[in-house]
Amino acid sequence: MVATRTFSREELRQIIFNQLRGLAPEADLNYLRPHDDMREALEIDSFDFLNFLIGLAKETGVEIPEKDYGKVSTLEGLINYLLARL
């Protein structure tokens, strides 16, 4: 795991997008709006969502517990969640 360091909002957005591109290569992420439910918009199943979180944990060091899944369903929510913990 990478030691936690500070990330800017834009850096986090890039990290998230890189992970999403791996899962949904055909999706155009420019159309993903900040308050869209990412899993619904990109048709990400529970298996891919877990892989997404594993990828994020490797990049940022933050492991998001299951009880917080509701807080990180949108791009905006996820970035805010990560910023608060970094």
Binding site: E26, R39, E43, D45, S46, F47, I54, A57, I64, E66
Partner: protein, 419 residues
């Protein structure tokens, strides 16, 4: 000397294209070793051998389309290989002759016990009895039980394959291939994505049309309170690093497998107008492909696997299904199918049974619902479990019993993974 035939990788498969040989004549092969890659509607499948031996000849050149049941290689069993090694002559020319002879003999072959000097095969008593009844040669059966033991399901599959072979068109005469052709392309993609899509659609159409034509389905559903199961899972996952986290599907797979140990009539095949209950529980788990279509590879012995083993198997299967690289046993071994459409947002799924299986279990999405218990109204996470049963093989009463057991198992998640 045994010919190795193009395997039937599902009720819907007519032929397969040999893409790549991973062995050459003279190679020693072990039981379960992947020896070839075959292109099918479900992706490129790694084909495994059933017994130890020495590859004597490859009968199909890469790129050739071969009907199911056609011999594609000659593999000499380990015991035979010793004899041949002792004999002074070894001639490539003979291989052709012997190959043809073996093919001809095979059709009328009587089941014979494996030679005493060969490696002993483990067979369950039930499997041995069944093999005798069905005329299955045990030395040709690949065991999937503990330590490679042959169980009832293995014999049933072999019998089904034998039947398919007899019904299949006679094998096309083939030129023996002395050595593998020059290295085939590393990833032989000769079908465009659209073509692959179309052929997968056709394969699904074939199997599902057969199911709808032949299987009188009955459907049952029940509402299951998932509060305890999900609480257990959350607590379990808190103890684990994120990469070892379990998905809810692991609980559902295990609960279905355990329920089948109590209601085994739903686990097996409908063959020759009779239900053949399978001894082993191999759950075909429906995995949707992003580009469309689905594959249901088997999770072997799901009832005996721990939570971590199930998660690991699931992860591995999903990755390989998507990469189009499953093994032959995974496509042929399922004794029942489980589909979980929870991620698509639907509440219930009424499935179409994959023949010759006799049941399909479906789970919808977990939703919060009003739940009345002991006269009190509350809100609980709830999932609808459905069962599609083959009415030839079982009745609604059996199906209802299964769903009841399934429900009870999910109310005691802490004991689900204890032996």
């Amino acid at each position: 000397m045994a010919e190795f035939r193009m395997p039937s990788l599902g009720a819907d498969m007519q032929s397969g294209k040999l893409l790549e040989w991973l062995v050459k004549p003279g190679d020693v092969v072990k039981r379960g070793q992947v020896i070839a890659v075959v292109g099918t509607e479900k992706g490129d499948i790694e084909v495994e051998v059933f017994e130890e031996g020495v590859v004597r000849a490859l009968l199909a050149a890469p790129g050739t389309e071969m009907p199911v049941g056609a011999p594609i290689a000659i593999i000499e069993s380990a015991a035979e290989a010793e004899k041949v090694a002792a004999a002074p002559v070894s001639r490539p020319a003979d291989v052709t002759g012997e190959a043809t002879k073996t093919v001809a003999e095979k059709v009328t072959a009587v089941p014979a016990p494996r030679p005493a000097n060969g490696q002993r095969i483990r067979v369950s008593p039930l499997a041995r009895k069944l093999a005798a009844e069905l005329g299955v040669d045990l030395s040709q059966v690949r065991g999937t039980g503990p330590q490679g033991a042959i169980d009832k399901a293995d014999v049933e599959r072999a019998a089904a394959a034998l039947k398919a072979q007899q019904e299949a068109p006679p094998p096309v005469p083939t030129q023996p291939v002395e050595a593998p052709a020059p290295p085939p392309p590393a990833k032989p993609v000769d079908k465009s994505s659209a073509e692959f899509q179309a052929s997968m659609r056709r394969a699904i159409a074939l199997a599902m049309a057969r199911s709808n034509r032949e299987i009188p389905h009955y459907y049952l559903e029940t509402r299951i309170n998932m509060a305890k199961a999900l609480a257990w899972l959350e607590a379990e996952n808190l103890k684990r690093p994120i990469q070892n986290r379990l998905l809810p599907a692991v609980l559902l797979i295990k609960a279905v497998a355990k329920a089948l140990t109590q209601v085994p009539q739903l686990n097996g095949y409908w063959i020759d107008d009779a239900l053949q209950v399978a001894e082993a529980i191999h759950i075909g788990f429906a995995i949707a492909l992003r580009q469309g279509g689905l594959v249901t590879p088997a999770i072997h012995h799901a009832d005996l696997k721990s939570a971590d083993e199930l998660m690991e198997t699931l992860r591995d299967l999903i990755m390989r299904t998507r990469a189009g690289r499953l093994r032959s046993s995974e496509l042929t071994d399922a004794t029942i199918t489980l589909t979980s459409l929870g991620d698509m947002g639907v509440e219930k799924v009424f499935g179409v049974i994959y023949p010759p299986q006799v049941a399909l279990v479906g789970f919808g999405r977990v939703t919060e619902e009003v739940w009345v218990e002991n006269g009190l109204i509350g809100v609980r996470p709830v999932v609808y479990a459905t069962l599609a049963g083959d009415h030839r093989a079982s009745d609604g009463r059996t199906g209802a019993e299964f769903l009841d057991v399934l429900n009870r198992l999910l109310q005691e998640p802490e004991t689900l993974f204890s032996a």
